[in-house]
Symmetry: none
Subunit: 127 residues, 2 copies
């Protein structure tokens, strides 16, 4: 079962943090296709947020075909894996990296620092 962590000081909306963590959890293998997510009510209580906030996150992921919801039963990770063409994949990688590095540099961080931090994240994830 995935553990959600909210950062209220980041300014990032709660429902978006939940969305990101689910997506991240899927690609990192923490969440597997078919697995059931916490119920909207359970997660609302656990994270001490409103039922609507969880519902909003789940609904957006359902629209993107990442989750599948069954009323009365629960919410599940969708089975469909969508393959992306190599060319598009490469372009996307460059695009998001360029954009990210621009932002990070504007905060005054060097690419060296960024790369190091990403490696830290990588190692801490494997534990």
């Amino acid at each position: 079962m995935i553990k959600f962590l909210l950062d209220y000081s980041s300014g990032v909306p709660v429902y978006r943090q939940i969305i990101d963590q689910i997506r991240f959890g899927i690609t990192s293998g923490q969440l597997k296709p078919g697995e059931q997510l916490p119920t909207v009510r359970a997660l609302a209580v656990e994270l001490k947020v409103s039922l609507n906030t969880i519902s909003k996150a789940y609904r957006e992921l359902e629209i993107k075909n990442i989750l599948e919801t069954q009323q009365g039963t629960g919410t599940f990770i969708n089975n469909t894996e969508q393959a992306v063409p190599d060319k598009e994949r490469e372009g996307k990688l460059e695009e998001i990296c360029v954009q990210f590095s621009s932002v990070a540099l504007s905060y005054g961080f060097t690419l060296g620092e960024i790369v190091q931090e990403l490696k830290n994240i990588e190692t801490s994830k494997k534990l």
Copy 2:
């Protein structure tokens, strides 16, 4: 002169992104004490945001004694050194890297690929 970059998809308020980039810009040496910042009107036009938004960011930084404003003249970096604490700087680095990696991983990229791409960007910049 510092270059501001806004990320509208991050969920972080524009005025806060400006605040952060100025603060971290000072710490990294991109902005030096006494240096003049863009005028509220100029920056509003450049970033295509409202005058109020820039003003809000500048005002908050003035309250914190990071900026000094002189009506009719402009806004300047305060001389008193106000380096961002190491802990906060580290935290910010981690925050943006975690968020970025979350997005990048959700696209199916590995951290290895991402690091490689960032290094490519680094070398291509030096040419």
